[in-house]
Amino acid sequence: MATFRFREPSIIPGFRLTFGFTIFYLMVIVIIPIAGLFLKTFELDWQAFYPIISGPRFLAALKLSFGASLLAAMFNAVIGVLVAWVLVRYEFPGRRALDAMVDLPFALPTAVAGISLASIYSPNGWIGSLFAPFGIKIAYTPLGIWIALVFIGLPFVVRSVQPVLQDFSKEIEEASATLGASRPQTISRVMLPALLPAILTGFSLAFARAVGEYGSVIFIAGNLPRQTEILPLLIVFRLEEFNYAAAAAIAAVMLVASFIILLAINLIQVWSQRRFGNG
């Protein structure tokens, strides 16, 4: 008697209990609330939806959020590779401490990072006061937002690249050197292509995090409409006006963007596993 089996047979008990609970909890905490957001957005007809996503304030926030996040993630991709390289390849006193420090932005609550960055980069702060005499303002400008986004995105590229670099076999580098490549050639033509999937993964994660970031940005941003107002803050303002439909519409746009980024990450990983055998 051939019956359909959802899962492959196993003598280990508890599948129904754990699988059932997993699905139930996932539904209640994550899936149903997010589905509700899209339902709320679909309640709007096009005539109501279009003005929300075409208003100058929304477009300015969209441009700022995605633009600053992109620039921060790009900067993080470059210094992330450098930091990962130094931590994996070089021996020096304090390396382990430095390695642990990389995770600080994950561990430090965003509000704490936010007020701290704002105080450092404000015109009378430690770094802000160095630039103030030249008329350069950092806090309360897009530059300040960029700095906060660099801070919270820093670990992503480092932590994506580190394990790949750790496992990179020395033989390949030796073969490249034996065949006459200079060290810069080996690094740029042999090693960087192999690291590229990991760099892209870290870049996407840093970018996705930066687009949604709220706590560390709002203190340093200044929050002027159309100038230094990020998308998540716009959602908060709409919520405070009890304009739930507009808040939901903006959030839906952001969520779709996040889903696309998440999909891209997965595709990169599938592609890289096929191409290089690691992620």
């Binding site: 196993s10 609970f21 997993t22 420090m101 203190f219 998540p232 739930y244 980024i261």
Partner: protein, 297 residues
């Protein structure tokens, strides 16, 4: 001995030899210098600023915040929220890891992606989805409020829910890859020797994954106590009632009570430091008993 005879030492050649698979010393020193400088500028400086600002006017001023009733309420609420959210996600993490790692069924990869979903949702959006679902003008929200008198939004349950959402994947994603690596052999042996499912879990699986479990709990707790965006949207900021420590930091800061803000922030920064130290210790001491691969939270 024979080796030495075949290859007589040539000190001048040895000193001129440079490994083809590393960079010149000058470059190495430069790269290390740039890295240390960048890390100091972007990571160490913000951390140091918290403590410097907190102690700017001395220890007495620093300690004043811990007599402030609002701050005390915030500390208590933060502990309460973490004490609910972390165990909830712990139970979920174990159940999810057991069902995903111990069995083969279609859609496993998709399920793992869904579990990671909260990481790619903006904290503000995480708060918003619960307002839409459970707010007083939604169907469920008005039912809870009118028939049971339970307020979820702008009350403590909302704060707890938001925290559970943003810390949702932490423990599951530490356990799933590790339990997959470990395979089913140990549990199958225990069960064929007559152990019940609970016994196999309690005496075999749990000891195998205990350090990864602790690792996940550590990260989950750090985020639970430090979450700002999602909680800010859902709390309504009723002083002494629905304000957690990060929110109280914001309230102090916006009222220009800078020392109080940074003093309270220093407690959270201390928590972050302890988290980092324990995390590094676990990674160093029990590297083989934690999930391998990229750690990107």
């Amino acid at each position: 001995m024979a080796d030495a005879a075949l290859h007589p030492a040539r000190p001048e050649a040895a000193s001129a030899f440079r490994s083809p698979v590393t960079e010149p010393l000058g470059f190495r020193v430069f790269a290390i210098g740039v890295t240390v400088l960048l890390m100091a500028l972007f990571l160490l400086l913000p951390l140091a600023a918290v403590f410097v600002e907190a102690f700017r006017f001395g220890l007495d001023k620093y300690l004043e915040v811990f007599k402030n009733p609002d701050a005390i309420g915030a500390i208590k609420l933060t502990l309460l929220v973490a004490a609910i959210a972390v165990p909830c996600n712990l139970i979920f993490g174990i159940a999810a890891a057991w069902s995903i790692a111990k069995y083969r069924f279609p859609g496993r990869a998709f399920l793992i992606s869904l579990i990671d979903l909260p990481f790619s949702v903006s904290p503000v959006v995480a708060g918003l989805v619960y307002i839409l679902l459970l707010g007083s003008n939604s169907a469920i929200g008005s039912w809870l409020l009118q028939d049971f008198g339970i307020r979820v939004i702008f009350a403590v349950p909302g704060v707890v829910l938001a925290t559970i959402f943003v810390t949702f994947p932490f423990i599951a994603r530490e356990l799933i890859p590790l339990m997959e690596d470990q395979g089913n052999g140990d549990e199958e042996a225990a069960i064929s020797l007559g152990a019940s499912g609970w016994q196999a879990f309690w005496y075999v699986t749990l000891p195998n994954v205990k350090w990864a479990l602790l690792y996940g709990v550590l990260l989950c707790n750090a985020r639970a106590m430090g979450e700002f965006g999602a909680v800010a949207v859902l709390s309504g900021k009723l002083r002494g009632e629905t304000v957690t420590m990060p929110l109280q930091v914001e309230l102090f800061y916006n009222e220009y009570m800078t020392v109080a803000a940074f003093s309270l922030a220093s407690v959270l920064a201390g928590l972050a430091l302890v988290t980092l130290v324990v995390k590094s210790w676990l990674e160093w001491r029990y590297a083989d008993q934690l999930a391998t691969g990229a750690r990107t939270h």
